[in-house]
Symmetry: C2
Subunit: 248 residues, 2 copies
């Protein structure tokens, strides 16, 4: 029995969600509410002591880290649709792209996203209430991020992250100029993991992601949204209310 | 035919080097000199446009990123000794540990290492010569790192990195308190990738890595150094001259 603990279909939570939908695996979905700090609650930290989603429970064994969960699903639950290339070199290429998301692309987009949306989520709390929430967060760096989100990130950090976002979307656009998918010859975890971050950027970052600057990236985003698995996921799993609907 | 382009047996270069030695695979070793900026030279950027080692050439196909190379060697060149657990859950556990090296442990140790050792490597250059060297570096963040290494990193950054190094070594020590290896029941890429960073820390960071604070970590480091593959690698591949010999 598979149980996925995650937020809605965006960012890191989207990676295993879409992988499960693509593979057609039966799973129970336990959707946590970030605005209620459910991922920092005692019951969830008993599942993942780091207080982070997504986490997968496979018959009592817990797998954490979104990219690791995706590869785990391929290892433990192979299906007719494989989301990893068979060729070892193409598989390595896929891993270079999923690793790049985790080490670069995800972080710059995340910081700006936190600045725009997460801050609002905690502004209604008193200082004392906010400090109580922080105490429940096991990772010190995450405490710093919540604090900065509430205060507003310093402008020099935001400027640098916007520069990196520009680098990222141009890199994806160039890569996709003459190919349909990011790694190997087929749709793979490289696409799913990058899509998790890139989807919706034409709304959140229209100055960087638009028809004239990143046409290939836009077409690839649409190509994934058009897949039956993505349509089913977005129809069935509600998004977070604070997700970007427009540039902020 | 396998050719590995790398620095000496330390940090990210050690990961594929030790993996190749452990697996007993025949390979040609092209050792680059960081002090000569060989990884930013035209000939090497024709192999890896990002100007980073290690890189593996397998019959003309290039694989980059140290952790990806290690998994590639398992995928493309399976041997009697497997460095990945067969069980999918244990394999996921292994990947959580290799990922943690790439996203956390490697970076804090690297910054302090750059501050202590890389700065000296470029201090003899004139400003104009140094700027010329920078121009050859394809990754902007690497340019910033070289600049900071030459100027000396700001103290608040160094303090924060030292805090993270403390977190890292205590985490490893706790993990190894009741187990011989980091993931699954056997020696794996989780051990190799963490050893790549941890080896020698009792000399470079004696205030953090020592017999009373991290006894389990020290025994695990020794256990890996005692392996025939590690002995052969250190005997055959010279280390960089600027590698830490004492606390700096």
């Amino acid at each position: 029995m598979l149980t996925l603990y995650s937020f809605g279909p965006g960012a890191n939570s989207l990676k295993p969600l879409l992988t499960l939908y693509e593979k057609g695996l039966a799973f129970e979905h336990r959707r946590l509410e970030p605005a209620k700090f459910e991922h920092h609650s005692h019951w969830f930290k008993a599942i993942n002591p780091r207080g982070q989603v997504p986490a997968l429970d496979d018959g009592g064994r817990i797998v954490t880290e979104s990219t690791v969960i995706c590869e785990y699903l391929e290892d433990a639950h192979p299906t007719a649709l494989s989301l990893r290339p068979d060729d070892p070199w193409e598989r390595a290429e896929m891993r270079v792209w999923t690793k790049w998301v985790d080490e670069y692309f995800c972080w710059c987009v995340s910081t700006v996203g936190w600045h725009r949306h997460i801050g609002n989520m905690v502004k209604h709390l008193s200082d004392a209430e906010f400090e109580e929430k922080l105490k429940a967060i096991p990772i010190p760096e995450q405490q710093v991020k919540w604090r900065r989100a509430r205060e507003g990130f310093p402008q020099d950090i935001l400027d640098e992250e916007m520069r990196k976002i520009g680098v990222s979307v141009r890199r994806l656009d160039e890569r996709l100029a003459d190919r349909e998918w990011l790694a190997g010859g087929a749709y793979s975890l490289a696409d799913i993991c990058n899509f998790a971050i890139a989807n919706g950027m034409e709304k959140g970052f229209p100055e960087l992601v638009n028809e004239s600057d990143t046409p290939h990236l836009l077409r690839w985003i649409q190509r994934i949204n058009d897949r039956p698995a993505a349509k089913a996921m977005f129809a069935q799993v509600p998004r977070e209310r604070f997700e970007p609907a427009r540039a902020g």
